[in-house]
């Protein structure tokens, strides 16, 4: 490949500029994180990231992100199904609104959900009467993350359902499958990789999410403190290497999640 001459001009200048810009803005700063975390040495690094408060924060972040992504799976599938298969008044508006969690600044989502679900909030008050506390609990964090993650699932599933061969469903029907059989045997296996991909993206995003969660979480160390907030706390205590260590674990965690979901999805698609 390298020896081939390029027909179009600008190969050197555009690849060169891209690499320089990417290095300055993204790669060198990220390298600084790796370097900083490695100056700690293995023993101290381990001590920092395995401290009870850190472990608790990782559990909150990874646990709520997974719970939220799993909740998003059926809701996202249902919404994507309704949007691709049925036409009803206001469908265009609903479709456009799906991206609201992407478009709305996270601080706005954060204070809005917190106030809505607080003990005296519009939804929080009736729920409190049922004995359910949302804001400042695990449930609240998961709710905020489910809000943030929903578009990932819907937008992953929608194109697949859209392109799904109607013939396949019709064939199943003609061959005598009833509606449930068609759903369970034909449609769900067909969209499963896309759902998984959306869940993976929502999960990974949830792990590092800050703005929409930090208000509703209540930030009680050991209980509702998320890992990104622990990073901020360490920074405020001028403990930059501690912050870097927590950040490394969080970063590797999101990469592993993204990579694993990607792998499973590819395997499933190849099998199909």
């Amino acid at each position: 490949m390298g020896r081939r001459t390029h027909v179009l001009p600008g190969y050197r200048i555009t690849t060169g500029l891209t690499i320089v810009y990417l290095s300055l803005i993204v790669l060198i700063p990220l390298a600084a994180l790796v370097v900083k975390a490695s100056t700690l040495g293995i023993a101290q690094f381990w001590e920092t990231v395995s401290a009870p408060r850190a472990i608790a924060a990782f559990r909150v972040s990874f646990g709520t992100a997974l719970a939220a992504a799993l909740v998003d799976a059926p809701i996202g599938l249902l919404v994507a199904w309704v949007l691709t298969r049925y036409s009803f008044p206001g469908r265009g508006v609903v479709d456009a609104m799906i991206d609201l969690p992407f478009a709305l600044p996270t601080a706005v989502s954060g204070i809005t959900l917190t106030t809505l679900y607080a003990e005296h909030g519009w939804i929080g008050a009736p729920l409190a009467r049922l004995g359910l506390k949302v804001s400042y609990t695990w449930l609240g964090i998961s709710l905020a993350l489910a809000f943030i993650g929903l578009p990932f699932v819907v937008r992953s599933v929608q194109p697949v359902l859209d392109g799904f061969e109607r013939e396949l469903e019709e064939a199943a029907h003609v061959l005598g499958a009833d509606r449930w059989q068609t759903l369970w045997r034909v449609i769900l296996p067909g969209v499963f990789p896309a759902v998984l991909s959306g869940v993976g993206l929502a999960f990974a995003r949830g792990i590092g999410e800050y703005g929409s969660v930090v208000f509703i979480s209540g930030n009680m160390p050991f209980k509702t403190e998320i890992a990104p907030l622990l990073i901020v706390t360490k920074l405020e205590e001028y403990n930059t290497s501690g912050a870097a260590a927590i950040a490394m674990v969080l970063l590797i965690g999101s990469f592993v999640v993204l990579f694993a979901f990607n792998r499973v999805q590819q395997t499933l698609q190849r099998a199909a």
Partner: protein
């Protein structure tokens, strides 16, 4: 069955998406129109708006320009390492906003890599506008490239090659052949980039130092008001951001039709 599913989806979305949206405006106007106007025009809000727009005005053109350059490199040529380069462009999407802020603290903070040098030369990057610009550049870099890659890949290179063979220069080819065919994609990416640059919270919060009236962007101002228990003011300022988000959504929806 059909009706039940539609109803279920709409009820779920109503609680999850529509209600929060209505709530922002309800809270913003809770204490009346005068309080609302006062909150969005007070000096701190105005300086926050100015700072947010300044940051966006620097970040968006840079990331649009480099986004186009990167998309050109990645779609018009085959070279070794292209796949890894594409993956690296996506990196900011996988990085927590807090970490995006942290990495610039590690570089430019007092105990950071360039900390001593910057202090000696009296240059302020962290807890000042340059740091906030850098963090926002990091967060919003992938948007334009991501939007352009599929469009430019689908377009192929034949039109450009024909133009070059007919004697057009590289610039002419870009301006007359490539750009017209991807202009809606560029606009879409620009929109996403701008919306995120205006709304970014975590990354900017870490590098800002929270100096009221100096390094406070609109989302950070919302946080300050909220933590001060100035609820209607916090939601009034939030409503400005919400209006921007809604306009973005409508524009995205319109542009999607053009791109397809």
């Amino acid at each position: 069955m059909r009706r039940i599913l539609i109803a279920a989806a709409i009820v779920l979305l109503a609680f999850l998406l529509f209600l929060p949206l209505v709530f922002v405006f309800a809270q913003a106007l809770r204490d009346g129109w005068h309080t609302y106007v006062a909150a969005v025009t007070e000096p701190d809000t105005r300086s926050a708006i100015r700072l947010t727009l300044t940051i966006a005005a620097i970040v968006v053109p840079l990331n649009v320009a480099f986004g186009i350059v990167a998309a050109w490199a990645l779609t018009k040529f085959e070279f070794r390492g292209k796949a890894s380069l594409t993956t690296m462009i996506d990196l900011p999407f996988a990085v927590s906003p807090v970490i995006a802020g942290l990495i610039f603290v590690l570089l430019f903070g007092n105990s950071g890599v360039f900390g001593a040098w910057l202090k000696a030369h009296d240059i302020k990057i962290l807890f000042a506008v340059p740091g906030m610009v850098l963090a926002t550049l990091f967060i919003t870099f992938p948007f334009v490239v991501r939007e352009l890659l599929p469009i430019m890949n689908a377009e192929g290179t034949e039109a450009e090659e024909a133009a070059v063979l007919l004697g057009a220069s590289g610039w002419q080819t870009f301006w007359r052949v490539t750009l017209p065919s991807v202009k809606w994609g560029v606009l879409y990416g620009t929109l996403l980039c701008a919306a995120r640059a205006i709304g970014e919270f975590g990354a900017v919060s870490v590098v800002s130092g929270h100096i009221r009236g100096v390094t406070t962007t609109v989302p950070l101002h919302v946080e300050i008001l909220y933590n001060d228990y100035q609820m209607s003011a916090a939601f009034a300022v939030s409503s400005l951001l919400t209006i921007i988000a809604l306009v973005t959504l409508v524009a995205e929806h319109l542009l999607q039709g053009r791109i397809r």
